[in-house]
């Protein structure tokens, strides 16, 4: 992937979440993917320190299944979310793997309350045949050591 294709990939990832196309978003992930939102600070050891989210693919599937179930009351009504993605940088590049870092400003609106999250997102993209998949998405929230109000929407 050249830089332009990488940009399009992370923009698409954000757009799928913003538009609630969770099944399409899930299809971006590799079978052994990790979706990780650290708690406390960005560089914790997730085997020794609790995280806000640490999902493997079955966890992501369950999370989405719940959101689509019609009984996830914390998303009734569903949040409206806008993501602004910028500062896209390639951190490392090999033939079959690219590490990409972005800055994300996420604005969520739920029942008159607007919440803003700033985060540095780290993606590990891996080539699988003709496709590139997300092997890891790590969302380093600026507020990850603060008290968070309910965050039932995907980050």
């Amino acid at each position: 992937m050249d830089h332009r294709a990488i940009e399009q990939f992370v923009y698409q990832e954000a757009r799928l979440l913003d538009s609630g196309r969770f099944a399409d978003w899930l299809a971006l992930f590799a079978q052994d993917a990790i979706y990780w939102v650290p708690a406390g600070h960005d560089d914790i050891d997730p085997t020794q320190h609790v995280s806000i989210i640490y999902d493997t693919l079955p966890g992501i599937q369950k999370r989405i299944g719940r959101l689509n179930s019609g009984f996830a009351y914390a998303q009734d009504p569903a949040s409206r979310v806008h993501r602004l993605v910028s500062n896209i940088e390639v951190v490392s590049r090999a033939d079959d793997a690219i590490e990409v870092a972005t800055m994300m400003l996420l604005v969520e609106l739920s029942r008159h309350k607007q919440t803003i999250h700033s985060a540095r997102c780290e993606f590990l993209l891996r080539r699988e045949g003709a496709d590139w998949k997300i092997a890891r998405k790590k969302v380093n929230l600026l507020r990850n050591n603060e008290v968070l109000d309910s965050t039932p929407y995907l980050l």
Partner: protein, 391 residues
């Protein structure tokens, strides 16, 4: 004090209902801080968080910022995190290790046992200034049980063991899940907040009735068996709330939703599966919840890791269960802000609850444990200060 005067407080708790102002009146909240959080035993933390000489953590008792420190002799002290000079907090970190705390403002410096070690340019204070009178204020009583450390702002009153009452056995059982009889916590907290009263969380921590309804999108059919087919009980245990589902066995090592119990230890500690949840009231309509994930000594690390992964999925700010709980706490606050209807109903099981093993208990979906919490609430909120000291 606002609309509800002290003499009226007893009337806010009925046999089968609680008045909405208990959740919405800022005057009631201020009185709760004085009459509950300043008088009873409040959970501060676990031994393992401050295991080494000089370790400390910061926390709160009601509105008081507190430092809990491990001293060189192995004992634990709890200090008010407030410089005796002009009042600034002297410690800014959640956890750390230090033998002294220095206020940044004028560099008054205290030992970690609270003693004022020195002030810059001491001659300016003259001979009448007694340094020993200006140490960090101490939480009058600190005690622990099975590694759970509590503090009380009251000089006198029931001992910790008296306060815990029958729940001591549950704390024993909670530790006994570990093969060595000892528990620890993973590093870090899940920190959550909601715009609602703190007591919703106490009720919800021992409320089997809601699990199949509110958590329909998260609870498995298998786990629902303990509620639908079990013969578990809810218990008013000395004013603390318990749901006992040990008919499905003791609390499992994997912390799954089967046997064991949930415990709401009034006023600020909840033990539930692999969680130590600390309830921090901020305002009448704002609450913060700090949760530790418990790891067991003496089990394979992958078992502990799975305990944490399950809790992360289910609880915390993005948890499959907890987001719906916080949602309902906020909906409750919005509903109860209406003065059109006064009463919140806690009537389940009134006609079938009975005394068993010394405690009022009832069927798994009943509200006996909630009524017990509110009886305790009423007793504390209506006790005069002099009576409280003498009790």
């Amino acid at each position: 004090m606002s609309a509800v005067m002290q003499k009226d407080i007893a009337g806010l708790i009925r046999r089968d209902a609680v008045h909405r102002s208990v959740y919405t009146d800022p005057g009631i909240f201020a009185l709760e801080m004085e009459r509950i959080f300043d008088r009873t035993w409040v959970y501060l933390g676990h031994d393992c968080e401050i295991s080494q000489d000089g370790d400390y953590k910061t926390t709160f008792i009601g509105r008081h910022p507190i430092i809990v420190a491990r001293l060189a002799d192995g004992s634990v002290t709890a200090l008010l995190n407030r410089c005796r000079h002009r009042g600034a907090t002297v410690c800014q970190h959640e956890v750390g290790n230090s033998r002294f705390f220095r206020c940044a403002y004028h560099a008054w410096t205290y030992a970690n046992d609270g003693k004022l070690l020195g002030v810059p340019m001491p001659a300016g204070y003259g001979p009448s200034f007694k340094r020993e009178e200006h140490g960090l204020a101490k939480v009058p009583r600190v005690a622990s049980y099975r590694g759970f450390i509590f503090g009380s702002m009251a000089i006198e009153g029931p001992t910790l063991e008296e306060h815990l009452g029958g729940t001591r056995k549950l704390l024993d059982d909670y530790c006994a899940v570990s093969p060595t009889g000892e528990i620890e916590v993973f590093r870090g907290y899940q920190k959550c907040g909601y715009d609602g009263n703190w007591k919703y969380q106490l009720e919800n921590g021992v409320d089997p009735y809601h699990v199949g309804a509110l958590h329909r999108s998260a609870v498995t059919a298998d786990a629902m068996k303990i509620y639908k087919e079990g013969r578990g009980r809810v218990i008013d245990m000395d004013g603390h709330g318990v749901t006992d589902h040990s008919d499905w066995g003791p609390m499992p090592v994997d912390a799954g939703l089967t046997g064991g119990f949930n415990l709401v230890l009034f006023p600020n500690l909840i033990l539930l599966r692999s969680q130590i949840r600390i309830v921090r009231p901020i305002a009448v309509d704002r609450t913060e919840i700090y949760t530790n994930v418990v790891r067991l000594k003496g089990v394979p690390e992958d078992v502990n890791l799975q305990r944490m992964r399950d809790q992360e999925f289910e609880f915390g700010a993005a948890g499959a269960f907890y987001t719906d709980d916080m949602e309902i706490f906020e909906r409750s606050q919005r509903g109860l802000n209406s003065s059109a209807v006064d009463w919140v109903v806690f009537a389940r099981g009134l006609d079938r609850e009975q005394r068993q093993g010394g405690y009022l208990t009832s069927d798994m979906s009943d509200e006996t444990q909630h009524r017990g919490i509110y009886r305790r609430w009423k007793q504390m909120m209506t006790a005069e200060p002099a009576m409280a000291a003498a009790e």
